[in-house]
Every structure is written in C-alpha cells, then in structure tokens.
Symmetry: C2
Subunit: 272 residues, 2 copies
C-alpha cells in the first residue's frame, strides 16, 4: 500500500476501534492524517495520545467537536462556552491545530437567535483560542439538522458569522455531505478560499435512499455526490490540506473494520 | 364546529380514506378547501369527482403532483413532459386551478443539469397550461430530497426558474417543512409575493427527532417550525389563499382518521 499523504481518517469513521487500535491501523495502512473525536480521548492522557500519534507519523488534523452554543438560558450558554474552552485546551494538549464546531440549535428557538448566540459564543472563546493558537472551523450542517444540531446550514451563513467576527482563527469546515446540494456551492467555496477561511474538507457520500438522518452516510463512491468536482473546487480555491474521511454509518460500523479501512483507501484512490 | 374557510386539507394527509370518504368527512367538518393527490383519482371519473367536491362546498385548491422532469435520456424527458400534460388535463377536468410540481432529480446527474431540464420541461408544458388556464407551482423541496426528488431546494432556486420563464402561470408552492430552515426565508417570501408568484402555502411541522426522511412529518404544533411567523410572512407578502395541511406521516396514517381530522382543525385553530 502506497502512502496517502493527503488522506486523513476521522476516528468516528472506525468507531468500533479505540484510538489505540485506530492509530496503529491507520499508521500501518500508510494514512497520513488523523482527526480525533473528543469522546475517543475519554480517560486517556491527552498529551500522551498526541505523542503516540506523532510517533506513528500521523498528522493530527483536527479535534471534533466543539460548538452547541445556543441555549434558552444564560446559564446554559455560559456552560457551553466553558465546554468549548475545554475543547480548545484539549486540542492544544493533543497538538491539534483546529477544533471543528457543530454550532448547535434549540428546537423552538428561532434560527436567527441561535445564530446570534453562536457568534457570541465563538467570540467568547476566541481569546483562549488565540492564547493557545488553535483555529476554529464552523461546519455548516445539512438543513435536516437545523432543529437541534446547527442553525448554520449553509456556507453563506457560516461566512456571515466569520464576516462578523473577522478573525484569522475563525473559518469553515466544508463537509461534502452537508453542502453538496447548495446551489451556491461553487461561489461559496471560491469566496471562502479568497478569505483564507477554508480550514477543512470532509469526505463521505449521500446514499439513495438514506434510511437514517444521522448514521446512514456512504463511503465515497456509494452515493450521488460529485466528490471529484467538489475537490476540484476546494483545490481551485487554494486548499492544500488533508481530505478527511468522516463516515457516520451503522452499516459500516457493523462491518469488519480492517476491510472497511481498505475500502476507504481504495475509494479515496479512485477519486483520482 | 365552526367553518374554517381558509383551511384546506390535502387528501394524502388522510391517506387511509378514499376520496369519496375524505370529501364527506372534510365537508361535514366544515373544512373549506381540498387538495387532491393524483393517485386518489385513479379509476374515477375525474369530472364527476370535481362535481362531487363542489356539491359539498369544498373549494378545489390544487392537484398534486406533476414534476419529475429530469432524466438521463431524452426519451425519459419526453415521457415526463407527456406525464405532466396528463396532470394538467386532469387538473382541468377536476376543476383545480393549480398543479403542484415536485420537480425531480436524478442521482448522479448534476443538480445544475437537472435544473436546466426542469426549466425546459416546464416551458414545454406551458402552452397546454395556458390553453386550459392551469397554474403551475414549483415546490422547493428540502435539501434532504436533492438526490432523487428535486433539484430545486430553495425558494431562490425556484424563483430563478420563474425568472427565466417569466410567465404569469408559473409560481411557487411554499411548504413550511421544506423551507423553514432557510436563512433567506423572509426575504424570499417577500420577493415571491412582490412578483405575484406566491401560489400556495402548505402547513405541517418538523419533528425532533425525525425518524424517517419521507413519512415522519408532524401535525402543526408538534414540532419546531415557527408556523405563526411563517404565516405572517406570507400574509404580509399579499397571500390570501388557502392554508393547506399536507402531512406525510406513517404514525398519523395508522391512527383513527376521524380523530386525526379533529386534531388538524384544533391545531389549525391554535395557530390563531
């Protein structure tokens, strides 16, 4: 197996593997990067995990995830800000340069109010992000998650928050699954690149039919997303970072994970 | 039960009832309007059904649905156009002034190409629509249906097709379920009203969690959509038509339909 220097695998993709297994498997397969799900660090010495990853030549691409800023109470919003500070500290301990933000939403609270609380929440944690030099990537989530996961459902909305905060540490994570349908996709990717905000690029595919809103994503090539076209767009916009494979899938989680990892590499290779 | 002059029920909402039962039940409940699912007309004399509805003082609001124009082959696109002509003729026979279009999409075909084919398909059926004086409403569908149901996923995309065709018989059906998340909702509703394109307004609710992408919609008030706010927006935009209740729900379809109809009226009443 040749080394895939731009391929990064998110640990949630191989959820059945604890991080100690995942790091050995990814390294043995010649994968270049790893994104770490925060839950995978529970009970571990985070700095030691970071050393273990680097010892295997795995570049730590990002820590997932912070966010969930909106809350109907000021106490809830303050707690969310503290939780995001913890995530930023964990990223610094691990040696991850980036925290991905799933920004949050509250059913019954207006999306405009939630967007206001998201911008305020990011602003509140920015001083710590500056101190520890950790970047924050707003991940626009598919509109089917607008009820309780994110009030930021388009790249335009994410860019609006970035415009307001106007800070070099705040940018976007572009996940093919969430944005592929957007009629403004090409223009928004170009704009995000121009503004130096294209911080991360996530790959998976959209299945037809999709049987579960959360955990029925496809391996690249199994679905209908034009991933080659999208990669061309992010590269044309100046993106030179890792291509992160992030697949939430009950089907793949119940499969043999060694075989799944081989299929991921093959699918990535076939993207050209 | 007082009469609800602006309340319209879509026959798919009470799917277990054949149209002969639905028309008696809606009329007895004092509901003012009915939208007819094409499949509910199968095997019937359509003109006679229209007479039966009018005899019960049910205003026929629309026929659902045409659309599904995109196809990878020219034969497939030609057949889709013929099918839409059949729908327009059925609307005229029934006495429905409007056909709602679920415009279609083909997994693996670019959304831009599908949008091109949609505009071309509508243009091809417009002469017949003019001849029979039937309006056509493009219904933007939620982005979670962009793979195989519609490449028109925002009001802005629907308005772009209308701009291209620029015809008084072509407008929009605004369904709360599909567009509630849109950060441009208010501006797009206002624009659609200004352009005299606000042809229909559909009500239901978004459940948290949603367990099925197709048939897990909520009764108004069960979910997180600000329906009062959305109704205020369409009214401010000059809409004076019916409020159509369209609920695709395995849960409600398995309930007692008389009780469900009473709940619909109660929920509509509570919207104020």
């Amino acid at each position: 197996m040749t080394r895939d220097p731009k391929l990064c695998v998110h640990t949630i993709t191989t959820k059945p593997w604890p991080i100690e297994v995942a790091m050995d498997k990814y390294a043995a397969a010649g994968i270049g990067g790893i994104t770490v799900w925060r839950q995978a660090l529970e009970g571990r010495n985070i700095a030691q995990v970071g050393d273990d990853l680097r010892a295997r030549n795995l570049e730590i691409v990002s820590l997932c995830r912070g966010g969930f800023f909106p809350n109907k109470t000021s106490e809830g919003r303050a707690e969310a800000i503290e939780e995001n500070r913890r995530a930023i500290r964990e990223a610094a301990e691990l040696g991850a340069p980036l925290v991905v933000l799933v920004c949050g939403a509250v059913p019954g609270q207006s999306l405009a109010e939630s967007r206001r609380q998201i911008a305020d929440g990011i602003a509140a944690v920015l001083p710590l992000a500056e101190e520890l030099n950790v970047r924050l990537a707003i991940e626009p989530l598919h509109p089917m998650y607008a009820d309780d996961r994110s009030a930021i459902n388009t790249m335009a909305s994410a860019n609006a928050v970035c415009d307001e905060l106007e800070h070099p540490l705040v940018g976007l994570a572009v996940d093919a699954y969430h944005v592929w349908w957007d009629p403004d996709l090409a223009a928004q990717i170009a704009l995000t690149g121009e503004k130096n905000r294209l911080f991360a690029f996530h790959l998976c595919d959209w299945l037809t039919p999709t049987t579960d809103l959360l955990n029925d994503r496809g391996l690249m090539g199994e679905g209908c997303i034009d991933l080659k076209g999208m990669r061309a767009l992010v590269e044309a916009a100046g993106f030179t970072g890792f291509h992160e494979v992030e697949i939430f899938s009950n089907r793949w989680w119940s499969a043999d994970q060694d075989e799944f990892l081989a299929r991921i590499q093959q699918a990535y290779f076939e993207l050209g």
